[in-house]
Structures are given as structure tokens and as C-alpha cells.
């Protein structure tokens, strides 16, 4: 075998070169190289997809339902999503014109941004947030402008913080409540203040509501359900978190037809349609998945209660996360950076948590702990975290 020197110059797009690989990656590599760890670093449910949902997908295969669906997804599924959105969150969408089934909420975010953002547009991104937001804004040609939130304010977005960052180039704002990684939720009143500002400055809202069902203390309020917001909101959601369907990659976007048509263009050229078998599974989840989901939600709430109280007893201050399945305690009392804390905790106590800074600068001083783990694991993890914190606080 001969080695031929590659004389080809590498040509990468500037957009790709500008973005950094996910900060989660480095930590994943480190944690994966170690044995016997308790992982609180996982951003997905610890449940397997309920059996009836899996069975519906098997049945679709048996019936040979293996062709493309409509670009926007199975009409039956869109109709089910439409009924669900209206009954659960008081947001009505026409299944034929205003709903697109996507390859996970991730694709939904991508096509939403690409449909709206022009080069140079500034997009406000409320931080700490899901790791993909800022890179996806950049890939769409936009400029992500972080809007920080803080534990003192329960990680809710503050209208003044938005005002300070508004410029003539500001086109949209990205909201995500309940939030990954903080678990923060926004009530109707707080959200209405943001909505008023958004309308005053004629912004588009990307509202990632993938954790909507995982709201423990109060009913989730959808941004699109607020007065005057439906027409300017692109709502992104999916089945991954509430129905324990992460690997299926089924999500959806709901938006006024003018936005939906634009997103559909990108979706049809890039993806054609979401996986057919996964769409049948999602349809079963919509029709008959409520009881399983409610059971999972009840269990997350109990674990949230247990875990957050135990973290506080261990000496870490932690706001009460109203949703999702993450606690985001402050680790400042240890004198360590979030990276140092996570790394030392992993090495010394074999517990994996995610350093907060990977979710944006506002996350520094915190770590994300997922309590979507068994009670046994949580109890053991809390003991180890307590021992660790005691050591560093002295």
C-alpha cells in the first residue's frame, strides 16, 4: 500500500470555522474514559420509550409502511399535534399549514433559524441555555447576543437585560422555558413583560418548549398563547423529553403559515421528511401516551424534590427548578471554577455532572446535574457530592 500525499487544500466554510465544538464533548470524552461512575450528566429521560409506542413502530414496519411521508409529516400526526397543542397549551395551529414534523426538535430549531435569520442579524439568546442555540444562530449567518440570567432571579429573563442588548439589528429572541440547564420556568406575568417588549420592538420569538410537560409546580405557559404573540412566535417542541423518545428523533415546529411555508422549504430540501416509523410511534404517543407520561412526570417531580433538598443539605445553594429534569446548583462556595468542580468531582468521587460554562458564560459558577437517574443512583451521588463539597469548603 502506498501513501499518497494529499495535495488538496482544505476549504471549510467560515461559518463552520468560527464555531467551537460543543464544550460538552470534552467532558464526555473524559467521563467515558472512566469506569464505575454515576452519571448525572445525561440530558435525557432514564425511561425506555413506553411499550405501546415501540409496538406501534414495529406494527408500521410489519405493515410495510416504509415510504416517505408528506414533507410536513403524516397528516394524522399533525392533526394529533394540533389537538394536543390546543387542549394542553391553548395554542391553535392548522395541521395542514402551520405544523411541520421534524427530525427532532434540533432540526426544528435549525430550520426556524434559517428561515428567519439574514446575515448579520442579531439574535438574542437567553443564557444559560441548550448548547446548540448560539452555534445554530451562527451557522444561519446570524450573530448570537447572549442575554444573561442569574440564580438570584431564578434564572428568569429580565426585561432590562433584553433592553440593554437591543440594537437596530436585533431580529429575534430565543426563549426556552422550562430551561435546560437551569430548570427555570417563566410564569404568565413574567412572560407577558417580555412579550410586551418583543411586540414593541417587532421581534420574532423562537420558543423552544420541549420541556413543556415537565413543569412541576405550575402549568406551563406557552409564549404563543399570550396576547399578540401567536403571530410572531415559532414554537419548537418534540417527543424526546416528555415521552422518553430521544433516539427516535421526532420533533415539530408550529408557526403561522408564512413562517411554516418558509421552514418547509428548507426541511423538504434538507430532510425530505422525518422517519416514517418514528412518526407512527409519535402518533401512538400522542393518542395513548398520556398516562405513561404523567407517571414519568410525577416521578421526576419526586426526584427533583429529593435531589434539590439533598444538594442544599450538602452545602450547595440551589434555586428550586420548576421544570425540566436538571438542578443547577451554585458551586462558588467551593472556590472552584465549574470546570474544575466537574473534573475533580469526576476523578475524586466518580460522579459526572456538566460544567455550567458550556451552556454560556452565565453558567459559570454552576454545574448541571440531571436527576433523571434512579433514586438509588441519586442517593449515592448526593452522598458523594456532600463528601466532596465538605472537603473543598474547609
Amino acid at each position: 500500500m502506498t501513501n499518497v500525499k494529499n495535495t488538496h487544500d482544505v476549504h471549510l466554510s467560515k461559518a463552520v470555522e468560527r464555531i467551537e465544538p460543543s464544550g460538552i464533548r470534552r467532558f464526555f470524552d473524559l467521563a467515558s474514559s472512566m469506569d464505575n461512575i454515576i452519571s448525572l450528566g445525561v440530558g435525557e429521560p432514564d425511561y425506555t420509550t413506553p411499550w405501546n409506542v415501540r409496538e406501534a413502530s414495529i406494527h408500521s414496519l410489519e405493515k410495510g409502511l416504509t415510504s416517505y411521508t408528506a414533507n410536513a409529516g403524516l397528516l394524522e400526526l399533525r392533526e394529533a399535534i394540533s389537538v394536543y397543542m390546543e387542549s394542553r397549551f391553548q395554542t391553535a395551529y392548522d395541521p395542514e399549514e402551520e405544523i411541520i414534523v421534524t427530525v427532532g426538535a434540533s432540526e426544528g430549531l435549525d430550520i426556524a433559524l434559517r428561515a428567519v435569520v439574514d446575515p448579520g442579524d442579531e439574535i438574542l439568546v437567553v443564557e444559560p441555555c441548550f448548547v446548540s442555540y448560539a452555534p445554530l444562530v451562527s451557522l444561519a449567518g446570524g450573530v448570537p447576543i447572549p442575554v444573561p440570567t442569574s440564580m438570584e432571579n431564578n434564572f428568569q429573563v429580565n426585561v432590562e437585560a433584553i433592553k440593554e442588548r437591543l440594537t437596530p439589528k436585533t431580529k429575534a429572541i430565543m426563549l426556552s422555558f422550562p430551561n435546560n440547564p437551569t430548570g427555570a420556568v417563566m410564569g404568565r406575568e413574567e412572560l407577558a413583560k417580555v412579550a410586551a417588549l418583543v411586540q414593541e420592538h417587532d421581534l420574532v420569538v423562537f420558543s423552544d418548549e420541549i420541556y413543556a410537560e415537565l413543569s412541576y409546580d405550575e402549568e406551563h405557559v406557552s409564549t404563543a398563547a399570550l396576547d399578540g404573540m401567536w403571530e410572531r412566535t415559532i414554537l419548537i417542541s418534540g417527543f424526546s423529553k416528555s415521552f422518553a423518545m430521544t433516539g427516535w428523533r421526532v420533533g415539530y415546529v408550529c408557526a403561522p403559515a408564512v413562517y411554516a411555508r418558509a421552514m418547509l422549504k428548507i426541511h423538504q430540501y434538507a430532510m425530505m421528511c422525518a422517519s416514517t416509523m418514528a412518526q407512527y410511534a409519535a402518533l401512538e404517543a400522542m393518542k395513548n401516551g398520556r398516562a405513561d407520561m404523567e407517571e414519568m412526570v410525577a416521578s421526576y417531580r419526586q426526584r427533583r424534590n429529593y435531589f434539590v433538598k439533598s444538594l442544599r443539605e450538602a452545602g450547595l445553594s440551589c434555586h428550586s427548578p420548576g421544570g425540566a429534569f436538571y438542578a443547577f446548583p451554585s458551586i462558588r462556595s467551593t472556590g472552584l471554577t465549574s470546570e474544575e468542580f466537574a473534573e475533580k468531582l469526576l476523578i475524586e468521587q466518580r460522579v459526572a455532572v456538566v460544567p455550567g460554562h458550556v451552556f454560556g458564560d452565565g453558567g459559570e459558577g454552576h454545574v448541571r446535574c440531571s436527576y433523571a437517574a434512579s433514586m438509588k443512583q441519586l442517593e449515592e451521588a448526593v452522598d458523594r457530592i456532600a463528601a466532596f463539597v465538605k472537603n473543598y469548603q474547609n
Partner: protein, 165 residues
Amino acid sequence: MTEKERELLLLIEKEGRMSAEKLAKMLDLQLNEIKQMLHQLESRNVILGYSAIIDWTKAVGTEIVTAMIDVKVTPQRGRGFDEVAERIYRFNEVKACYLMSGTYDLSVVIEGRTMSEIANFVSEKLSTLESVISTTTHFRLKQYKHDGIIFVDEDGADPRIVVSP
């Protein structure tokens, strides 16, 4: 019944040994509130007992034979099926007894050390009751799931990657 009481029952139904401290944390209540709630549920006979679910096939030398018996009976005037059911469920060998709709009347679960022990019970105690018309005995061959607990050994490993967004 309050929502918290229902939640408490669901938790201890799954794991009866959960400490009151842990229950209090999970349900966001004070320790004395949980203790009081448990006490009340016990005194109201909502909680009838706390038992362990054991896979006896794994406990060496303690094999147990289980049979499910379909029983047809003649109901008694004035008391329907209750009197004959009571005469049956009083036996120690009887682990469960249900009134059924359909082709037979009572479903009776019996446990014994050997098949002949169960056969003796059916032929001498159960069939000889005056109200009993017929019995059909089914021996249980393998237990896959009981009271919501799956008995087949499953790989308990977490298939999720250790860190994900």
C-alpha cells in the same frame, strides 16, 4: 384522599421499605407529616401491610408451587358468594381469592411446597365444600411478572451515554 396521600401510596406500593425521611423529601413534606399520614392510612386500613416481593426460585431449597384454581360455586341465599368465599380464603394455603365474572365464580391462588400438597388441599378441603360445584387447577410453571415487578433478569446497565446535551 388527598393527592399527596395517593402519591405516598404509589411510592410505597413500589418500595415498601422506603424510609419516612426519604418519603418526606420526595413528597416535599415534613417528616412528622409523613409519619402521621402513614399512621392514618394504616388505621383506616388503606395500607393493609408491607410485604417483600421475592423470587423464590432463587432462594435455594425453598421452592414453592403455586396453583390458580377456577372454582364454580352455588351462591348462598342472602349472602351470595361472600360466605363460600370466606370459607375458602380463611385457609392458610390460600394466598389470594377473587370473585370473577365469566365461566367460573371464584379464582383462588394456592401456594404449597409440593404439587401433591396442593392436590390434597384441592381434593380434601376445597372440592368437598358443599357449595363448590367444580374446580379446575392450573399449576404455575414460570413467573414472568408479578404485582408490576418483572421477574426475568434484565441487564440493568444504563444504555445512555454518560454526558449528553
